[in-house]
């Protein structure tokens, strides 16, 4: 409605900057809703198995390293903090600071993935995998377990004494564990790409206090990745 139709920051189909900002943000929230529902399927699977086999989940949770999980939580919280701070810096036009803060966020994201990789490789080494995996020690029939894994896995002597159905359900626990953390990890990787792209655009000088939508939306996405981890951590690592 206003005369600023030739403002290069304003797309042709919007009336003014406020409408554009509002719409972008609205769209992002709707996208976050789809993300939550995307994860919901796995949360439902988790809830189904936990409610029907709570003893299995309590037992299996001890195989996860609580300290590494907690450390990862702190790393992600820190990255969320710097992302939120980056939005503030962008609003105030402190573009140099924006680059640094986004850099810290990306570093944290890489740190998270590194810790995750450490956990995964440990699980693989010990045969703590879902029942269908070749390397898994959680097979119904103990004879089908790979002898090489059985030999070096420190858990094998204990696991092979468990009742078969119990053992099989631990396999399901690890199936859910790998699906949930794996899907979350994919989101972290996407987040890394998004934030690197934002850094490049910021260095190029695309952002100003009038137009910083992309940073705001990128940060919203990153906070959601954090939010999901906030639930995953106690659900997977802290079952006593």
């Amino acid at each position: 409605m206003s005369s600023d139709h030739h403002d290069p920051l304003l797309a042709h189909h919007f009336d003014d900057m406020e409408q554009q900002f509002d719409t972008n943000k609205f769209g992002m929230w709707v996208f976050l809703l789809t993300e939550i529902l995307f994860f919901s399927g796995l949360f439902v699977a988790y809830a189904v198995y936990r409610s029907n086999h709570s003893d299995v989940f309590e037992y299996a949770s001890q195989y996860l390293n609580t300290n590494l999980g907690a450390l990862n939580t702190i790393v992600l919280l820190l990255s969320s903090f710097t992302a939120a701070w980056a939005v503030r810096a962008a609003q105030l036009g402190q573009n140099g600071l924006v680059t640094k803060l986004l850099g810290v966020t990306v570093l944290c994201a890489f740190g998270f993935m590194a810790i995750k990789a450490e956990e995964y490789s440990h699980k693989y080494h010990e045969g703590l995998l879902w029942g269908g995996a070749e390397h898994s020690i959680f097979k119904v029939d103990t004879n089908t377990v790979d002898p090489a894994v059985a030999e070096h896995s420190e858990y094998w002597s204990e696991v092979k004494e468990l009742p078969p159905e119990f053992r099989r359900q631990i396999g399901i626990f690890f199936g859910i564990y790998f699906c949930l953390t794996g899907l979350h990890g994919i989101h972290v990787i996407i987040g890394i790409i998004v934030i690197l792209w934002l850094m490049r655009r910021n260095v190029r000088g695309d952002f100003s206090p009038q137009k910083y939508d992309a940073i705001d939306l990128g940060a919203l996405y990153w906070h959601l990745v954090d939010l999901i981890w906030i639930y995953l951590f106690p659900l997977l690592y802290l079952i006593s």
């Binding site: 189909h13 919007f14 719409t23 995307f38 399927g41 198995y49 879902w130 029942g131 399901i172 699906c179």
Partner: protein
Amino acid sequence: MTTTDPSVNYLNHEKGLRSWLMTLDHKRLGLMYMWSTFVAMLLGGSFALALRLELFAPGQQIMSKDFYNHMFTLHGAVMIFLVIIPSIPAALGNFVLPIMLGAKDVAFPKLNRFSYHLYLTGAVFLIAAILTGGLDTGWTFYTPYSTSTDTSVIIAVMGAFILGFSSIFTGLNFIATIHKMRPPGMTWFRMPLLLWALYATSVIQILATPVLGIALLMLIVERVLGVGILDPALGGDPVLFQHLFWFYSHPAVYVMILPAMGVLSEMFAVYSRKQIFGYRYIAYSSISIAIVSFIVWGHHLYVSGQSTMVSVIFSAITFTVAIPSAIKVFNWIATMYKGSINLTTGMISALAVIWLFGIGGLTGLWMANLSTDMHLHDTYFVVSHFHFVMVGSALFSYLGAVHHWWPKMFGVMYDEGKGRLWTIMTFIGFNITFLPQFLLGTRGMPRRYFDYAPQFEFLNKVSTIGSMIVGLSIVMVFWNLLRSLKNGKKAPANPWGGVTLEWQCASPPSPHNFEDAPTVGDPYDMSQNRFVSDEEGYVPVTPSENDPYVYQVKVEEA
């Protein structure tokens, strides 16, 4: 770009394949969706005819058992994912929604283009699945069969996954557009009812489709890595997959039918030249259908091992869907009462839908009922029921809507006589095809078998003959439309007398839809325009001419 030259429109202002494939214009994207759905419809339709030919007589006719399994799976997958789900929401919605809002484009044009590219990618995956070993799981991909069959499940599932995201992004775009880009003066309750329907549809798309995404992803992981969550051999629970699948796929049924209902609300008002009856009730019923659609998915699991307690709850809620659906039908009938009905091809389709949706909807109640469903589940009764709803109602509305907006899309009039004839023929053929299937179902003929007991032969023959009539008539409907592009009469801006904003811009619209911002009024006040013979269409009337008496005299003069 900005021009007032009336010969420049969105169809001809840029040329070349690239200008179409890389366009950000919602109108061009809408048209490309439309042509894509037409091509897919011919593909899926020919699969259907092949199925019917196989069933012409008991025993093997033209294909093997395995090939039959591939055929019915692909018929379902192509028709659902490539035709019906993108038909009205993506094809017509893209074209009409922003113009109805008086906007220049949807909220996120680049995302809109991305949706279409995802749609094409998904289609390529589905076709690749056909070429690399086919698919015989049924379009529902139930585990554990889908994790053990040696057909191209992974490629097909990835195709469906990608198509799901195409659908999500379209829904996201429409919700943001309706929320944030309504023009001044267009409050929620002055929106055309098609927008309400598209809004409700989009809500379903964004809330339900992600769950399909995760269900299909879990299926892929299950197949590739053997995670075991859905595999009973590893201690998993296959019913969980059905829950995940139907949490999406039942609401998806309403992704198909809700926009069709929106289109009908527009057509009944325009072709009766009368204010829509019960505007608010139609709007509310769209929203309530969208919400209720999420808590009825369990009626697909009555015989899958779902517990009795949950089945009873789902059964009870399923019955309530009948209430908002019936409200709509009653309101459409009341809209026609004492209206001045114009029996165009669009209106004939709309009237056909009242019959078809009536049958499709009411037979749904038998299956909502637990005890009768035990008998009818997985028989031809179900097949016929959902064809009445998904083809009879959704696809007929789509065809009617394509006729309704065809002059606006291309600026030409189709041949009305032939349009009527072939639409009526489609309707007759459809009833011949599917009414016998209700009888077959109640007598116990199961679905998804390539053979049947001899006593079912007569009704199957009738059904096959009907399907041939449908096939021929649909081809003729398309042919009639295509021919009009070449030698159709030039269309006026407003051939039917619609009051919604898309009838205020030129036919076809200019690249930015409106040269001047349109004025927003009551979308169903038909006294805002009148027919002028010279224009062969309707033109707006100024308030001074708005006297009913003057109006009648002028029409007689002309």
